[in-house]
Amino acid sequence: MRRLVFILALTFAISGSAQNKAVKSGEKFVYAASYNMSGLMTQLAQVTMETETVKTSKKTLLHLSCEATTYSKWDSFFKIRDLYEAYVDPTTLKPSLYKRDIYEGKYTKKEKYIFKNGTVESTMTKKNMAPTTKTFNVGTSQDAVSTIYLLRNVDFSKFKVGQIKTFTVIFDEKQTTVSAKYMGKETISAGNLGPKDCYKISIGASTKALKGTDKNIIWLTADNAKVPAKISFSIPVGTGQLILNNASGI
């Protein structure tokens, strides 16, 4: 599931325009995550992506969250409760705080990244280990969650088939170069939104997390909201997909 969420992040991630026009507060997207078992897609978990306005004493921020929860029938065998969160500027989507809380069976891990003036102060806590801290320069790189939302601000209507855009994502205290290739349009069933024309985008990364060429694909609705309607992924341990079940607040 860690790989799945990373791929989800990479899949969404792209350096878009500076002004956020697509992402609104109060959005909620619910996906069914399936994994290929002996040729049959088996539904394992529900992935929920939500946005919410949060106010501090001086600022108004957008809280972005991405949550993966196994269906109750799987909880007895392999329980997953993963939570990825980012607090970003609602206009630029630049992050102030990014958190990752992993609970997968017996594996647990917590990460916290505080962004200030082009640097990141990260804290990582693993099970039965003392927390470690690290400070590193990130330049204009974004965290995994906020870059997910940046993708929706990219104007793919101006892209030509085969056009590639590269960008960097911070994940596991490392910066990873990721490419997004526009592959044209397709009609995809988008849950309660019905069949939608979608931008088809292939994701590649300089990491072993992704496998194959044009095997990691995301379909974004070809409208102003650019809702991720479907994601298919191929990783070293297999293949799977995320299908949009319900989208609200767009």
């Binding site: 078992m37 049959l40 529900q46 949060v54 501090t56 809280h63 939570l83 102030s96 916290k112 200030k116």
Partner: protein
């Protein structure tokens, strides 16, 4: 031939058991269905008075199929995890403190 069919029905029934227990959807229909099929063939190949084993194998395969189908019909749901919900609330409170500190730097 009868013995081969009985052995096959038994093997597929055994394979079908973990599929019926694990939440693997309709994947288990294949071994359970094959067990039922071989059990049925063994039943017809068995002489009168020797049909008990195929009957029991068919009953087992039928039960496995019923369990698999009923489980597959139950919709996928996420149960409300109060512990996880509480953790999220606490996490958010902690985040707000961090953000306030960050603004005051």
């Amino acid at each position: 031939m009868r013995k081969v069919l009985i052995v096959l029905a038994f093997i597929f029934a055994v394979i079908g058991i973990p599929f019926a227990i694990l939440p693997l959807g309709t994947l288990g229909v294949l071994p359970a269905g094959l067990s039922l099929l071989f059990g049925l063939l063994a039943f017809f190949k068995s002489p009168t008075g020797h049909k008990n084993v195929p009957i029991w194998l068919m009953v087992l395969a039928g039960l496995l199929l019923a369990v698999i189908v009923v489980k597959a019909m139950i919709p996928d749901e996420v149960v409300k995890d109060t512990e996880f919900e509480q953790k999220k609330i606490e996490s958010k409170q902690e985040d707000l403190k961090d953000l306030e500190e960050l603004e005051n730097l």
